[in-house]
């Protein structure tokens, strides 16, 4: 029974001829002895046939080309349409995300350059290695000019 549930998951691939030789051999051996899996396979093949044997459509010769020529003439020749490897509108929807991220990064960069280093903290002063005394520290803490 456990074998059947495993086999049933592989039958779709088998019906498509995509199973490897060893797997196909194992499946055939199981199918020989299991009517339930044989029935499952027959059902899959039937569905596959039903879909693939549907009405095949054809366009009259040059019908589409005439429409295309007309459309191209109206909308301009080889005007290049931006297309990310044929992804069409699907990928265009994701463009605002990187664009916004780049713009924000740029603004932050500009803002950080624009900040004048007019504040000189007590930590900076002490870490700068300058000589410190109580008066100098007090002046910095109170924010007064030295």
């Amino acid at each position: 029974m456990k074998e059947c549930s495993r086999v049933k998951r592989l039958l779709s691939r088998y019906a498509d001829g995509e199973s490897g030789d060893a797997e196909a051999f194992r499946l055939r051996r199981h199918l020989d002895i299991c009517p339930s899996c044989r029935e499952e396979l027959a059902g899959l093949v039937k569905i596959k046939e039903t879909i693939s044997c549907g009405e095949k459509k054809t366009l009259p010769a040059d019908y589409l080309l005439c429409r295309l020529r007309d459309r191209i003439a109206r909308t301009g020749g080889r005007k290049r349409e931006w297309c990310w490897s044929g992804a069409g509108d699907f990928s265009l929807r994701f463009i605002p995300v990187p664009v916004t991220a780049i713009a924000l990064s740029f603004l932050l960069l500009v803002a950080s350059f624009g900040r004048s280093p007019d504040t000189y903290s007590l930590e900076d002063y002490v870490l700068s290695g300058s000589r410190t005394n109580t008066a100098a520290v007090l002046v910095l803490m109170l924010g007064q000019e030295g």
Partner: protein, 185 residues
């Protein structure tokens, strides 16, 4: 297969060197394949033709950016699936609306048996009930006969994902067909 791809490459080179005949040859070669893929999603003649036109317009305008990293048909089918996806996204409920109308199969002549019509109708309704990503995989397999590897390139997902989508699509189709058959009895 190799010959087919070489032929495509020569048409593309011809087009890129300024000769429209290269593009026209590609259209003639692939128009019915694209139409059948589109029709299997849309199930409406006029709308399908409009979408096929849209697909080839995109090809015309972006063929210069085609790098040849994948085969031309793979690239073309990717554009086709994306164009259909966008159409269905913009017009939600289009397919269900279509299938409730009596004019679903305007091309059906008197010769076509009632049974065939009913079968077509059942398949259309069943396919309409399957979510797009599963339907795309099964359509490319069963209508166009692509391999799992080719489908994975078109849909940009792994072969395991393609296999699982096809498996699940068929399970859903089976369930839907049984449901529809039950309704009609």
């Amino acid at each position: 297969m190799e010959e087919r791809l070489e032929e495509d490459s020569s048409y593309i080179i011809q087009f890129l060197s300024g000769e429209e005949a290269g593009f026209e040859a590609l259209v003639r070669k692939y128009q019915d394949k694209v139409l059948n893929i589109v029709y299997s999603f849309i199930r409406h003649d006029a709308e399908s033709e409009d979408i096929v036109q849209e697909v080839f317009l995109k090809v015309y305008r972006s063929l210069e950016s085609f790098k040849g990293r994948s085969a031309f048909p793979t690239w073309l089918y990717r554009i086709t699936v994306n164009t259909v996806y966008d159409f269905l996204r913009k017009r939600r409920g289009f397919l269900r609306g279509q299938l409730t109308e009596e004019s679903v199969y305007p091309g059906s002549g008197p010769r076509e048996s009632l049974l065939e019509k009913e079968k077509e109708r059942t398949v259309s309704r069943a396919l309409a009930a399957v979510p797009f990503k599963f339907r795309a995989a099964v359509v490319l397999k069963d209508i166009e006969g692509l391999s799992y590897a080719e489908i994975s390139e078109v849909l940009r997902c792994g072969i395991g994902t393609v296999e699982s989508r096809i498996f699940r699509a068929r399970q859903m189709l089976k369930r839907e067909i049984l449901k529809i058959s039950g309704e009609s009895k």
